[in-house]
Amino acid sequence: MGTSISSWENVGAYFTFADNPLALGLFTVGAAAIIVGLIISIAKHENEAFEKIEK
């Protein structure tokens, strides 16, 4: 699906979706969202854990 080359002759960047800026942009947003989501999920976990000891 993501192949960016059809031959290894005179090839440069050959990684998946290298010729598809839209896909690369979406992957960038997705990767950034994972980091933000991780930090939010940790903050939630901490809040829940701290609430339990306050009870």
Binding site: G12, A13, F15, L24, I35, I42, F50
Partner: protein, 455 residues
């Protein structure tokens, strides 16, 4: 005679051999930085052991997981924007064109024709991760992991690399305007991370029980041996770190510093080891303490790293001894101001990093840079040292203040007293107490923990 080589055939043979030679040279560059990066991972293994050992046993795993996650968030964020910041901001705060360093650029992925970007990105990502680990140790036992990760992303993927663009880039303004010299990253990594940490510690406050009636108490590490071994692992990793600071050039140029002046690994070897030895001796003399004696190895290397290519090895040794003594004194000084730095990071990295940059100005004043670049000067190094401290301190203080105002920086007092492993980590570091085998209350095989945090 029919088989006699022609000029054309000789030229073709020569061209083919030249192409093979250049390919192997490019591969050697990749191999060198690949292994530097691998060795740098040992820095993080060392910080992991060091930090867990320095914690009390009730916080050992919380300290460890915080350190592991720092590595895991700095690597992708350095890919997303850190590498671009390095390439875009050598002039200050106004970016220059650096589209090739954006995460969607073709050079930021597997590319047959690019045998440099990935390997340099990897080495720089590990430098960034080192700054995160420097912060991580100082704030153990009371910072929220979520707050720490926000801070470490800023430090590891924004702040230090902005300083790197200014002082560790061939076109960085500190070099082009002031002749700044900091080959081993004493300023751009250690001073920045140390002073960022100081800013965070001011807002974070000391651990419960650290100060009683204003008098500093000793909070003993739960495993000093683990801490000492961790520190020695960091020293091992430093050889990858410092190897990553030298430029492996193609063609006839050979090794240069990041500023373009000729040097070699022999120069680095002399002064790295002499600095290590001097730092150990200096910290031992000043403290007689095992933790500080081993930390002295770091102090010594950082104290000479800025001028690693320039110093006479005996001078490097003396600098490291003196800096080792001063680093212990500086750590006591900031403790007297109510700062609880659990591992001495502000002193070992911040103070020593700034001092190291300054000392290059003292001992190498007048040393030329290449081309039309200004020579190394006491004034240039002094300004550079101040810039590094400020670039670290201001965002460290500012971001942690915002988190503090949002009540998102520090764990509640009850959690701190109970221990963070018990409260938020679903595992126990030492489940077998007094020789009694651990029991599990979890349905998950091999999980030696309560399934409910806080139970």
């Amino acid at each position: 005679m029919d088989n006699a080589p022609t000029l054309e055939s000789l030229q073709a043979t020569l061209d083919a051999q030249q192409a093979v030679f250049q390919m192997h040279q490019s591969m050697n560059v990749e191999v060198f930085y690949w292994w530097c990066t691998a060795i740098m991972i040992m820095i993080h293994a060392g910080f992991l052991a060091y930090e867990m050992g320095a914690s009390r046993s009730k916080n050992a795993l919380a300290a460890g997981i915080k350190n592991i996650l720092a590595l895991a968030v700095i690597i992708p964020t350095f890919y997303l924007f850190g590498w671009w910041i390095y390439n875009a901001f050598p002039n200050g705060f106004i970016p220059i064109e650096a589209a090739g360093a954006l995460p969607w650029a073709q050079s930021m992925g597997p590319d047959v024709t690019d045998m440099g970007t990935g390997i340099f990105w990897a080495a720089f990502a590990m430098f960034g991760a080192t700054t995160g680990s420097i912060l991580s140790g100082a704030v153990i036992e009371r910072i929220r992991v979520s707050a720490f990760l926000i801070l470490t992303v800023f430090l590891g993927s924004v702040v230090w690399i902005l300083a790197g663009a200014w002082g560790w880039h061939p076109d960085g303004w500190l070099l082009t305007d002031l002749g700044y010299h900091d080959v081993g990253a004493s300023g751009v990594v250690h001073a920045v991370a140390g002073f960022f940490t100081l800013g965070v510690l001011i807002n974070l406050g000391p651990r419960v029980g650290k100060f009683i009636n204003g008098v500093a108490q000793t909070i003993a590490p739960h495993s000093l041996p683990m801490t000492l071994i961790g520190l020695m692992m960091i020293i091992f990793g430093f050889f990858g770190f410092l190897g990553g600071c030298i430029i492996f050039n193609g063609g006839e140029t050979g090794w240069t510093t990041i500023y373009g002046n000729p040097t070699n690994l022999s120069a680095f070897a002399f002064n790295t080891l002499m600095g290590f030895a001097g730092g150990v001796i200096g910290c031992y003399i000043a403290s007689r303490d095992p933790f500080w004696t081993m930390s002295g190895g770091l102090v010594g290397i950082i104290s000479v790293a800025a001028g690693l290519d320039l110093y006479d090895p005996e001078l490097a040794f003396i600098i490291a001894v003196v800096t080792g003594v001063l680093a212990v004194k500086f750590a006591k000084l900031i403790e007297n101001f109510g700062i609880d730095d659990a591992v001495g990071a502000v002193s070992v990295h911040g103070f020593t990093g700034v001092w190291a940059v300054f000392l290059v100005g003292v001992f190498a004043d007048g040393m030329p840079n290449v081309g039309d670049l200004p020579e190394i000067s006491l004034m240039g190094q002094t300004i550079g040292a101040i810039v590094m401290a400020a670039v670290g301190f201001i965002p460290g203080y500012g971001i942690s203040l915002i988190l503090k105002k949002a009540n998102a920086l520090r764990v509640p007092k009850e959690a701190e007293e109970l221990g963070l492993d018990e409260v938020e980590i679903i595992a126990k570091p030492y489940p077998e107490v007094n020789g009694v085998p651990a029991v599990t209350s979890s349905d998950v095989p091999n999980k030696l923990a309560n399934s409910e945090p806080g139970v």
